[in-house]
């Protein structure tokens, strides 16, 4: 363990903000409608963009006639790919992965379209209404090229190719291997297997994607206000594409109303709005409507996994193999590539378990759908679903309790750090502690008694467990997305005290609901010795730090928080040095706390304000060489990152009359290391589980054989609302972690555990029918069919 996490003696004395349930400082403005989202920007006489999008799934664009639209009332400009061809360089989602084809990101479809909803023409007008009127006047001729509607069809011999240059629809293929899986499976006492699927899902942030490009005529500069969680990456990519240096391109993520991954990639519309702003010399606005957001923002899952697990007679899992077919949609995304989601499935499949041998193969194939991209949990919701289903199938075959089989396979305390069969290394985390704690918190034994009683009344009551581990706060040794050339391993904090004694802390991380404004200030308050209320946190602004990649992959508390700790310590030292002059005391006798430097054990103290005055405004008090600027900057890289883990337990009842699933109990025991703010941690778990319930029971983007999205509105795309989300108990295990502050990332975990736990609970509830749950979401319709089929099978058997 590094010295980072060892508490310093002074820490014990000072009041602690870290660990306290402080109310979120961002909430008053957000909850009273005073937040400022990208769409709230009011630049001078902005123009509005509307996009004509493809109604064809795969077609050559043979003719686009925009003449009538150009002369429509209020229209300023109409752009097709041809009109802007000279204004940018395509953005390439590069990766060093073998067997990967990088599809370029273009602002508008050029040559052909590859999914329904792809933007073809942009109309710029004085209002969105008039822009949409003009869209109707555009004539487009399509030459259909054949729909690739499902991943199985994409890999067929005669499938139409979405990207002819790639020579195949398989955009990424990869295999992980350790040990002799075949032999281990052969000698296994029990083998269980299945074909598992999680259908396509929308991340569905409350705020749709939204961009305002403000053009500064004086400097020929653009400030892009974007609902992004990666403003730094967006800045770097657009800078490169448009040839605009950072001094003339600022990218700001203001208040952002959720992302869940859907705002975590560079979008064609972000490129287009900057290209058009520069071309027209005007400020521009665009906000996706719900239809555009659902049908063109990056989507999630869409994977089919054929998997098999072998156990020895003691219930120890010895071998695991899986073939993953990922339907990645029409394009790779920038910067993560189309490999992000499906490759993560195979790299995380062994989960928190000590499985000896492993083979995981993955193919990501192009289909006529919007790209899949990062979604809260990336890969792990489905890898956990598959591994946890297999664990339960193994338990059933061996006559073991699901709790017991997990205990026999989880990596235990003395075995860390542990390298699982896919190569990921888990640092010391409370895997077994999470399992035991969740079991105790839900009253596992009593639940089983309750289940027995329910069964004897003919009711369908089931209990499901899911344990998982994830890598969070990943440092520079591991690429967040496979083979990606961007540095995702560090984040910067710049803290300064101005001449009024106020503290400004600037970060490149970009909160979009996580409450970083609060938690980062909590860390600084403790480590700098400042008053919490005196700290202003700036984030999501590319001008604030030289480089940043943003908030994703459960990294911001670890990397941003780590940077904050280090920068605070540097600045605290400076304060001490000034204070030792002012108080005529030795540096070592000074303690900084509550916005003051104090001579320990006395009432002699100077406030930050007095310190600032002495440094900046007063020419006499300090010698010149002691007037050090009160600022510190630190770029923190946790090198490896740190593990986070949890066990979820769900108890459900299936109503055989309606086939609805009711969640009767839900418990999460999670280990996110040192908690910064328990209220925020609980909120993240609650929200994550709610989304996981969506994945397990409700949400599905349904595309038909012609590539048309059938569930394109919130009437048809069903998300859980408050009555569908049960009360949950969240228990915390704060085990030590070696990164700065001992924080582990925890923003994603809820969505990882919930689908698996609920799937297992439903399978357990339906076990009187001998039904396997291998497809999510388990809608009432699907449960109805499974029960009908099971009844039919039972009838055939008895006849």
């Amino acid at each position: 363990m590094s010295k980072d996490s060892s508490a310093q003696p002074a820490d014990v004395l000072r009041p602690r903000h870290v660990g306290a349930p402080i109310k979120r400082t961002e909430d008053p403005r957000l909850l009273t409608g005073s937040g400022e989202y990208a769409a709230d920007r009011k630049p001078d006489r902005p123009l509005h963009i509307a996009f004509r999008r493809s109604e064809q799934p795969h077609a050559r664009l043979t003719r686009i006639d925009t003449a009538a639209a150009q002369t429509a009332p209020g229209v300023f400009a109409v752009f097709t790919a041809e009109d802007i061809a000279e204004d940018f360089k395509p953005v390439i989602p590069f990766s060093r992965m073998a067997n990967y084809y990088a599809t370029p990101i273009m602002p508008l479809a050029s040559g052909k379209v590859r999914y329904v909803g792809e933007a073809i023409v942009a109309v710029v007008a004085t209002s969105r209404y008039l822009a949409e009127d003009a869209l109707e006047l555009i004539e487009i001729e399509f030459e259909p090229l054949g729909t690739v509607s499902r991943s199985e069809l994409a890999v067929a011999q005669d499938a139409p190719l979405l990207h002819e240059e790639a020579g195949t629809n398989v955009l990424i293929a990869r295999e992980f291997k350790k040990g002799d899986v075949e032999a281990d499976l052969k000698s296994a006492a029990v083998r269980v297997s299945g074909r598992f699927e999680m259908t396509r899902k929308a991340p569905l942030a409350m705020e749709p994607r939204s961009y305002t490009a403000e053009y500064d005529v004086r400097r020929g500069a653009i400030t892009l206000y974007t609902s992004s969680n990666i403003p730094g990456i967006v800045r770097d990519a657009i800078s490169e594409s448009l040839g605009l240096p950072g001094s003339r391109l600022r990218v700001v993520a203001p208040d952002v109303g959720g992302s869940f991954g859907s705002k975590g990639s560079l979008y064609p519309e972000e490129l287009l709005i900057c290209i058009a702003a520069r071309k027209l010399g005007r400020s521009l606005k665009w906000t996706a409507d719900r239809l555009e957001d659902v049908s063109s923002s990056s989507q999630a899952f869409a994977e089919i996994v054929d998997a098999e697990m072998g156990f020895d007679e003691n219930g120890v899992a010895v071998a695991l193999q899986a073939d993953v077919l990922g339907d990645v949609g029409a394009y790779s995304i920038y910067p993560w590539t189309c490999g992000l989601e499906p490759v993560q499935v195979v790299s995380f499949l062994p989960g928190p378990y000590k499985i000896r041998s492993y083979r995981g193969a993955v193919r990501g194939v192009a289909t006529c759908k919007p790209p899949t991209g990062p979604y809260r949990g990336v890969g792990r919701p489905i890898s956990t679903f598959v591994a946890e289903r297999l664990m339960d199938l193994g338990a059933k075959a061996l006559g073991l309790d699901p709790m017991e089989i997990r205990r026999r396979n989880l990596v235990c305390a003395e075995e860390f750090p542990y390298r699982i069969a896919s190569g990921i290394i888990w640092d010391k985390t409370g895997f077994v502690e999470c399992l035991d704690t969740a079991g105790a918190a839900c009253g596992y034994e009593q639940l089983r008694v309750r289940q027995a009683e329910a069964r004897s009344d003919g009711r369908l009551f089931g209990i499901g467990i899911a344990s998982y581990a994830e890598l969070t706060g990943i440092g520079s040794r591991i690429a967040v997305a496979p083979g990606m050339p961007i540095n995702t391993g560090s984040e910067t904090a710049k803290i300064f005290i101005d001449s009024t004694g106020a503290i400004t802390a600037a970060f490149g991380v970009a909160s979009h609901g996580q409450g970083l404004e609060t938690t980062l200030a909590q860390i600084i308050a403790d480590d700098l010795g400042a008053n919490f209320a005196d700290i202003r946190v700036i984030q999501g602004d590319s001008d604030a730090v030289p480089m940043s990649t943003g908030t994703y992959a459960s990294r911001s508390a670890v990397l941003g928080g780590g940077a904050a700790k280090h920068a605070s310590a540097l600045l605290r030292d400076k304060i001490k040095r000034v204070a030792s002059h002012l108080l005529e005391a030795s540096h070592d006798d000074i303690e900084v706390s509550g916005g003051k430097a104090i001579v320990i054990g006395t009432d002699r103290a100077v406030t930050f304000r007095q310190v600032a005055k002495a440094v900046y405004s007063d020419m006499k008090t300090l010698p010149v060489d002691a007037r050090e600027e009160l600022s510190a900057s630190y770029t923190y890289d946790p090198i490896n990152g740190t593990t986070a883990a949890a066990t979820h337990i769900a108890a459900v009842e299936v109503d055989p009359a309606t086939c609805f699933v009711k969640i009767q109990k839900y418990v999460v025991a999670e280990d996110c290391g040192q908690i910064i703010n328990p209220m925020i941690v609980d909120g993240q778990v609650h929200g994550g589980v709610a989304q996981g319930i969506g994945a397990a029971l409700f949400e599905e983007l349904v595309y038909d054989e012609d590539g048309q999205l059938l569930s394109a509105s919130l009437v048809d795309y069903v998300i859980p609302s408050a009555p569908e989300v049960p009360d949950m108990d969240v228990v915390h295990i704060e085990s030590e972690s070696a990164v700065a502050g001992g924080f582990r990332g925890m923003g994603e975990g809820g969505t990882i555990g919930a689908p698996a736990a609920i799937a297992n609970a439903i399978a357990d509830a339906l076990s009187p029918f001998d039904i396997d749950v291998n497809l999510l979401p388990m809608t009432p319709e699907r449960i109805f069919r499974l029960i009908e089929q099971a009844k039919l099978k039972a009838k055939e058997k008895s006849e």
Binding site: Y129, L291, T658, V702, V715, V718, P723, P780, E781, R785
Partner: protein
């Protein structure tokens, strides 16, 4: 997702509204609560040239007892019906159904005239109109006339009105019954129904003397199952009664399959709901 251009008029009287609508040459639309119409406008699925806003016509909003009936003004909000003691005591099935209509914010705006005119096959108020055998008073350029609910609903989202007609009020005959029930299943609280059944019965010593049965979500319009009503008066109230009723109901519908439910599942749901509903209705007395 912005509506195409339209003119907006907000008349203060019904006569003025009818006149404005007539002047639009079939291209006009009435705006009531806007909860169904505005999404259609935003998707440009409806493109009226004139929107005639009824919200300023105050005398279109009322609930009153009129002899053996309850009359409700077309502009009466869902929320007022939901909380009306008169409705609760005289039209109890309707009162129970109202809780299933959308969400609070939508019930605050949505109107009975709008709901009936919109004619969603999975909406509660059209089903209530069928169950109670309601009559609608309609005003057009030629004056007022009365339409029966069973003639009003033509198809999914289609009624029998002419473009210049406005629904003025709806009269619901009070049923002299002693048992009733309303059952519905929707994906989420407040969603449109996957299947629903409403029944109302009067019992005599030997069995059921008079019955009303209506269903929705299982056809292109809400249905009143008069055939089932008749047979109910002939079957015995015994241990097999619930199953027989359920069979009668399911065998008289042929639901459609859609994104949310297959025809088979809807039928299954309806059968289960029929049993629940009859159990409740029978338990009310005897």
């Amino acid at each position: 997702m912005k509506p195409a251009r339209f003119e907006y008029v907000a008349p203060a009287t019904l006569d003025a509204a009818v006149e404005a609508l007539a002047a639009a040459n079939g291209e006009g639309k009435v705006l009531a609560g806007g909860q169904s119409l505005l999404p259609l406008l935003n998707f440009r699925m409806a493109r009226p040239t004139v929107l005639v806003d009824l919200n300023g016509i105050k005398d279109l909003s009322f609930i009153e007892l009129r002899g053996d009936s309850v009359a409700i003004g077309a502009l009466t909000r869902h929320r007022e019906i939901e909380h009306s003691p008169l409705i609760a005591s005289r039209l109890p099935v309707m009162s129970a159904a109202m809780r299933h209509v959308a969400h609070l914010a939508i019930r605050n705006r949505g109107t009975i005239g709008g709901s009936l005119s919109h004619a969603d096959p999975a909406a509660e108020l059209p089903m209530m109109a069928m169950l109670y055998g309601a009559s609608l008073t309609v005003q057009g350029p030629g004056g007022r006339r009365t339409l029966m609910a069973k003639d009003f609903f033509v198809d999914a989202l289609t009624n029998c009105l002419e473009p210049e007609d406005i629904v003025v009020e709806i009269e619901f005959p009070i049923l002299q019954h002693d048992g009733w029930a309303f059952e519905e299943v929707a994906r989420r609280f407040g969603d449109f129904a996957l299947a629903s059944i409403a029944i109302s019965i009067r019992r005599d010593k030997s069995g059921i003397e008079d019955a009303r049965v209506a269903v929705m979500g299982v056809a292109d319009t809400p249905l009143r199952l008069e055939n089932v009503e008749k047979q109910l008066c002939e079957i015995e109230v015994d241990s097999r009664m619930l199953d027989r009723f359920s069979e009668l109901v399911t065998s008289s519908v042929t639901p459609n399959s859609d994104l949310h439910a297959s025809a088979e599942y809807r039928k299954h749901l309806l059968g289960e709901l029929a049993k629940r509903a009859m159990r409740t209705a029978l338990a009310a007395k005897g």
